[in-house]
């Protein structure tokens, strides 16, 4: 099956030559990808978050998008099954990939005549795409509904009361309150809601030695305060 297409040395210039014709087409394609990459890099300001803080165990990291499918897959294996997701499945996939040429040995290369290989690879691609999509969807609902319910007027009113009761001792807002802590009148323009929630859960993320205490609020009460504060702009 060795099929070296006889390289006839003097044919440069006909449409089938590697150099310069094919290289030209190939370069055009690469140039298109290059342009798209630069454009994306320019439009999407690559994020740089706060400096790493090994003490802040409340941080929930997200992997880069191309690892999301795997991240999602791992959610289905808990407790003693974790090792299936972290070890046996990757091992199985890798083994299958390596063995593919030795399993699919029929001489034909026509995809329609290789139903097994076609089905298996299609299943693989569909699984990766579906898991990625699922992860993105679950992620959004996680941030919006479970951790942070949408802000309502009642929440803001209730949040103001809780703030007056528990936080005003130290924090001032709209010219009233204590002076032992930062004025929070414009906290909403400085910080997002998730950050406020994290400060309430664990004040030490602001500073290791802070005098702000952990105030035992229920989840609902915390959401109310954070809703109130995130609207103070």
């Amino acid at each position: 099956m060795m099929n070296r297409d006889a390289p006839s040395a003097t044919q440069a210039g006909n449409p089938g030559s590697f150099y310069p014709n094919h290289l030209f087409v190939e370069s055009l394609a690469a140039l298109a990808v290059f342009a798209a990459t630069v454009l994306a890099a320019y439009v999407w300001q690559v994020p740089l978050e706060e400096m790493a803080d090994p003490g802040d165990t409340t941080y929930v990291p997200r992997p880069e998008w191309y690892f999301l499918f795997y991240f999602q897959l791992l959610k289905y294996f808990e407790g003693p099954l974790v090792v299936v997701g972290t070890f046996f499945l990757p091992l199985l996939t890798l083994t299958l990939l390596i063995l593919l040429p030795f399993l699919d040995t029929s001489p034909t290369t026509d995809i329609r005549k290789r139903p097994c290989a076609a089905a298996l690879s299609l299943a693989g691609v569909v699984a990766v795409v579906a898991l990625t999509a699922l992860s993105v969807v679950e992620d959004e609902s996680h941030v919006d509904k479970i951790v942070l319910p949408p802000i309502t007027e009642e929440q803001i009113t209730a949040g103001r009361e809780i703030f007056n009761k528990f936080c005003m001792l130290c924090h001032a807002i709209d010219g009233k309150g204590g002076f032992m802590a930062p004025d929070l009148t414009q906290i909403g323009s400085r910080a997002n809601r998730a950050y406020i929630e994290r400060v309430i859960i664990n004040p030490q993320i602001v500073s290791q030695t802070t005098i702000m205490s952990v105030i035992p609020l229920s989840d609902a009460e915390r959401h109310e305060v954070s809703a109130f504060l995130s609207r103070k702009k």
């Binding site: 690469a30 994306a40 990291p61 992997p63």
Partner: protein, 222 residues
């Protein structure tokens, strides 16, 4: 141009070498000028192009990057927010990583679609898998380098996963971290792997890949 070439050719006898590399026919079924769908045969070349782009932008990033917890973040912050075009170069390197993953994946799909992994190209398929793992390795090690919250905690999670592997898990995780927690030693070894080990591996296996592609010719439909 042609005089410089002649000067070099007279002394080094380059022509036979260049002929071997560049002077061959691309069969019609793999030639986008003849068959438009043959664009899928360009994916491998595009992978190579992106990897070169990654090397170029990566070298520029290295000029301002020092792999220690205190300096890493400061360096990336400087590149991103102060250095002229620094944000763009970092952006290209970051988006380029995504593009490399996408293109390698598409290239692999093309090889599966055209059944090109079959006899006699089994070895090149396996070399390809090594290349795939290398690219994934670049992504994993590179993610830690900015040393921001996301980098730190994503890597912590990743290494903790290694820990669950039976028997050798604890040892492997400790070796990756250089200790019991992600810290300075982890940063240094991820950096070294990212800029020395993996590039070396990449170059060796790319050479093998291209040697085999040229030697065996592009597969034809059967």
């Amino acid at each position: 141009m042609s005089r410089i070439y002649k000067f070099l050719d007279d002394r080094l006898n380059l022509s036979p070498l260049l002929k071997e590399i560049a002077d061959h026919q691309v069969p019609d079924h793999a030639n986008p000028l003849k068959t438009p769908t043959a664009l899928i045969y360009c994916f491998g070349g595009i992978c190579l192009f992106i990897l070169l782009l990654q090397i170029l932008t990566g070298v520029f990033l290295m000029l301002y990057y020092v792999p220690s917890p205190d300096n890493a973040y400061a360096g990336v912050n400087y590149i991103q927010n102060e250095l002229a075009f620094g944000g763009l170069v970092r952006g290209i390197h970051r988006v380029g990583a995504s593009a490399a993953v996408v293109m390698v994946f598409l290239h692999m799909m093309r090889v599966v679609l055209t059944g090109s992994y079959k006899n006699p190209r089994e070895l090149n398929w396996i070399v390809g898998i090594v290349l795939l793992l290398t690219v994934m390795g670049f992504c994993f090690t590179g993610y830690l380098l900015p040393w921001d919250q996301k980098a730190y905690w994503a890597t912590t999670v990743g290494v903790n996963m290694v820990e669950s592997i039976p028997l050798v898990g604890n040892f492997l995780a400790a070796a990756l971290r250089g200790g019991s927690e992600v810290g300075m030693l982890t940063l240094v070894r991820f950096y070294v792997v990212h800029v020395m080990f993996l590039p070396a591996l990449l170059v060796i296996f790319l050479a093998a890949h291209f040697f085999m592609v040229r030697r065996q010719g592009i597969s034809r439909p059967l």
